[in-house]
């Protein structure tokens, strides 16, 4: 288990609400444990690859195959360059479930690191991996559809990672503390530290810089 004082934001010059630290600790626990298709060591190596690509940090670990490292780097740093033939090529080598698990790990790590960068605190060191084997649990209800990867039900951003259900669960677990719960998104007059309109301005500008059409 990740230590209790991880993400306590003691070095922050501004108070950080506790639900953020709790959500980040849950994600760090997930990262360190064996996943569905990758071991704990491999999951942490995927995160290290993303950090290395984003920040130029030293990372000489060769736990992962070149395809897995490429997927981590591209999703972590250049997501707007992703095209269907590339997804088919990478998933052809790794398998779609392993590709989806990399997508989940990379996207959540970038989210957590961005929050740290934004408020001006040191990024948390990656966790020590836990031993054990991945569960290798297939999702029997996932099917190819309108998106580029199989998922459960129709193509929907909340279902995007549902081929590997724990990754979809982890995404939703972070989405609420960072922004709004899926249900809470209906509240157009929501106000907390920002008004809903201010939140959406930030969301839309982030997406514009990331060149994400969706």
């Amino acid at each position: 288990m990740v230590q209790w004082d991880v993400f306590d934001f003691s070095g922050s010059q501004v108070p950080v609400r506790s639900d953020l630290g709790q959500a980040f600790r849950r994600d760090w626990n997930r990262l360190a444990l064996p996943g569905t298709w990758w071991s704990g060591s491999e999951r942490v190596a995927i995160a290290a690859e993303v950090r290395s690509a984003r920040y130029g940090t030293d990372h000489k670990d060769r736990t992962l195959s070149e395809s897995a490292r490429e997927a981590a780097r591209v999703i972590g740093v250049q997501p707007a360059t992703v095209r269907r033939p590339w997804v088919e090529s990478v998933a052809g080598k790794l398998g779609y479930p392993r590709y989806i698990e990399i997508t989940g790990i990379a996207s959540r790590l970038v989210a957590i690191d961005t929050v740290h960068d934004g408020i001006g605190v040191e990024r948390e060191p990656l966790p020590e991996p836990e031993p054990g084997e991945p569960s290798r649990t297939a999702e029997p209800l996932a099917r190819p559809g309108a998106a580029w990867v199989p998922m459960v039900g129709g193509a929907s951003i909340t279902q995007a990672l549902s081929l590997v259900d724990p990754e979809a669960v982890a995404q939703e677990d972070l989405h609420g503390p960072l922004y709004l719960s899926y249900e809470g998104m209906a509240m157009m007059d929501y106000v907390a530290g920002l008004s809903r309109a201010q939140m959406e301005l930030v969301a839309a500008r982030t997406s514009a810089i990331n060149e994400c059409f969706y």
């Binding site: 707007a80 990379a106 990867v149 920002l194 939140m199 997406s207 514009a208 990331n210 994400c212």
Partner: protein, 117 residues
């Protein structure tokens, strides 16, 4: 971007808040929302600015809006760093009905240049 630019419009309408939506893609424009320019400056500095840009934008946001707003702004950027990656990596399509309904909106904001599908 399409989804949340529309949520921005909806939220501004519900709360009768002035809005210039083209400021999402055109930084020469004022979004008109309270503290809108400081928020956009913060997003830009955090994602594509220098360390000095980020320090300035963070201080400005803190001064104008306070620490809770700074933390929420950083968290929202973080969330969409995640969701943008999930959408792009999985080839998440925008439905045909939505594309039909949003033609004028997409033209106003110049969004179709971001459609890689």
């Amino acid at each position: 971007m399409l989804a949340h630019s529309q949520m921005l419009r909806a939220s501004a309408q519900v709360t009768t808040t002035p809005l210039e939506p083209r400021a999402i893609t055109d930084r020469s424009l004022d979004p008109l929302l309270p503290h809108g320019i400081a928020l956009l400056d913060f997003v830009d500095a955090l994602l594509v600015g220098s360390e000095a840009d980020l320090i300035r934008a963070r201080e400005k946001l803190l001064e104008d809006m306070g620490s809770a707003s700074l933390v929420d702004a950083a968290a929202v950027v973080g969330n969409f760093q995640m969701m943008n990656r999930v959408a792009d990596a999985t080839g998440m399509p925008v439905g045909k009905g939505t594309l039909k309904r949003t033609k004028e909106w997409r033209e106003l904001l110049g969004l179709d240049r971001f459609n890689h599908l």
